[in-house]
């Protein structure tokens, strides 16, 4: 039980995928300008990340390792992630057309979220078991969602700030992300 808590805290705070490992920065910058879309994106990414972490573990340990073709790891993980994203997209499209319209183009874009591939690859290097892999994926997703939602609320406030001309837009957002990453260093040593 203890090690599960450690994995969760480590993935959410101490080794936060966005602010400490700098993975998944593209959706973090791209989808954070409005709070509503950020929340939708966070939900979709959480689902995809958890499922992708689990299924890439299965592909790696039940197919690639027995056949001794682990060098195909990266490409098969990308395939797995694309399939999971496509499945999620079809599922949401049929079950909740409203949410599908809100998420729009961001849903297929999860495929290119490097945090998803990062989780799958880290699970193999850290030699996690099936349940640990799933939990690590879930924790990474919660950490991603947390900072994405907080950041989008902050960016809504930044749009009215009197930022000097050269720093407007993406520049000040990057500086803010950097300062946030500084704050997240405070979690160092927790797990």
């Amino acid at each position: 039980m203890q090690e599960f808590a450690v994995i969760l805290i480590s993935a959410i705070f101490v080794n936060n995928f966005v602010l400490v490992q700098f993975l998944g920065l593209c959706p973090f910058m791209g989808v954070s300008s409005k709070l509503e879309t950020a929340i939708g994106m966070a939900g979709a990414t959480t689902f995809v990340l958890t499922i992708a972490a689990m299924s890439s573990y299965m592909v790696n340990n039940w197919i690639l390792v027995p056949l001794n073709i682990e060098y195909l790891k990266t490409i098969s993980f990308i395939l797995v992630i694309a399939v999971v994203v496509q499945f999620t997209k079809m599922f949401i499209e049929k079950s909740s057309p409203l949410l599908y319209r809100v998420l729009g183009v961001f849903l297929p874009l999860i495929t290119t979220n490097c945090a998803v591939l990062g989780v799958a690859l880290q699970n193999t290097t850290k030699a996690h078991t099936l349940s640990e892999s799933t939990l690590y994926g879930f924790g990474a997703a919660i950490g991603f969602s947390l900072v994405l939602i907080l950041f989008s609320a902050m960016r809504e406030r930044l749009t009215v700030a009197d930022v000097p001309e050269p720093f407007k837009g993406a520049a000040i957002a990057m500086i803010t992300a950097g300062l946030m990453s500084l704050a997240f260093m405070g979690f160092g040593g927790l797990a």
Binding site: L35, I149, L150, F151, A153, M154, E156, R157, L158, V160, A161, D162, V163, P164, F167, I172, I175, T176, L179, M180, L182, A183, F184, M185, G186, F187, G188, G189, L190
Partner: protein
């Protein structure tokens, strides 16, 4: 001004920005006095140095932006940031610590966002965290309180302290004699009570308090530090009395910190994480509670929001102090909650007068509107 997401009625106060800033600076005096009394002149030198750098860098940025310099300097906000940062720096730190920290705080954390009222993070705490991460050795070397100095040693006086901070003023440095060669020791450093307490392995809290000089010579929570905290508490209560800020954020923070430490106090066993009194009166607790988290720009806006904001800071402080790798946690906890403040605001927006929570007009208001229309 920060973008207020609060709705009417807005109450206006007669205080202007400069007056508020001056009062806050004034209120740091008891704490600063205690710091000087126990740790020598270092803190005052830090504050002076920071103020000069702050005014200089603020003027530079405003000049670059082609705005009226005196108009912005006169609001005292840069000086307040410098005073707060100067207080949090270790006394007798080398001069470039104050210079690097203050210029980072003023230029990047404050003015890149457009200056006073727009900065999402507390500039003083950004400066502190940048320094702590970049120069951990200098930033964790606190001088020992005067009472703990060896009997044959003197606490450095004012001129000697200035020479330690600015080695160029020291004739020895100028003539090329290195410090080790001249064989003099400038000052003693010691672990802070928070550091000392973390080193406790296997002793009951009572035994540990008897063994460590810090606690056996102190009254409640460690020699020197308890009085520094009481000083800042007094200053904070003065500001509260002058209605500079509301009681919500400080109370939330102190209560949640006390509550966490009550839960993990473990009745003073060897694995205890410290008593509530110890946590409330050591490190920068009171300074943080009354001078840092009450910053109106970077904290949550509504009263309910401030209560939540303060309480979460208290919890984070306890977590990082007890299980993290940094000695004190005020700066990190404040920055993390600065980051969360806009979201807290978003979910604690007060109800508009005459409207229900979901924004639908109440029946009473509708009738009033109709009668107005007629």
């Amino acid at each position: 001004m920060a973008l207020l997401k609060l709705t009417s009625p807005h109450a206006h106060s007669a205080q202007n920005t400069a007056r508020v800033m001056q009062l806050v600076i004034l209120a740091t005096i008891p704490g600063l006095f205690a710091l000087t009394l126990f740790f020598g002149w270092g803190s005052l030198i830090n504050v002076t140095l920071s103020c000069m750098v702050a005014v200089g860098s603020e003027a530079l940025v405003i000049r670059l932006r082609k705005r009226p310099i005196m108009f912005y300097l006169k609001d005292y906000s840069a000086i307040l940031t410098a005073v707060l940062l100067g207080i949090s720096l270790p006394p007798l730190a080398p001069w470039w610590i104050a210079v690097v920290g203050t210029s980072f705080a003023i230029i990047i954390a404050k003015n890149l966002y457009g200056g006073l009222g727009y900065n999402p993070f507390n500039p003083a705490m950004i400066g502190y965290v940048v320094l702590l991460i970049s120069f951990p050795v200098q930033m964790t070397a606190w001088p020992a309180p005067a009472e703990l100095y060896p009997s044959d040693m003197q606490v450095p006086g004012l001129w000697h302290s200035i020479q330690i901070v600015l080695p160029l003023l020291n004739p020895d440095t100028l003539s090329g004699v290195s410090e080790t060669a001249s064989g003099t020791i400038d000052a003693y450093t010691a672990a802070t009570p928070l550091d000392t307490f973390k080193q406790n392995t296997g002793l009951l809290v009572d035994q540990f308090y008897k063994k460590e000089l810090f606690f056996s010579q102190g009254t409640w929570a460690g020699l020197g530090w308890e009085w520094v905290n009481i000083g800042f508490l007094l200053g904070g209560l003065f500001l509260l009395y002058r209605k500079i800020f509301t009681w919500h954020a400080p109370l939330g923070m102190l209560l949640s910190l006390a509550l966490c430490s009550v839960i993990f106090y473990d009745s003073g066993s060897s694995s205890s994480l410290g008593s509530p009194l110890f946590h409330l009166l050591s490190g920068a607790t009171m300074f943080g509670a009354f001078f840092i988290i009450t910053d109106p720009v970077t904290s949550a806006t509504s009263n309910k929001g401030r209560l939540i904001y303060g309480a979460l800071i208290g919890v984070l402080i306890f977590i990082i102090r007890s299980w993290g790798s940094y000695p004190d946690a005020i700066a990190f906890a404040v920055l993390l909650m600065n980051f969360a403040a806009p979201l807290i605001d978003n979910y604690t927006m007060p109800r508009t007068y005459g409207y229900s929570k979901s924004g639908v007009k109440s029946n009473k208001k509708r009738k009033e509107d109709q009668s107005d229309a007629r």
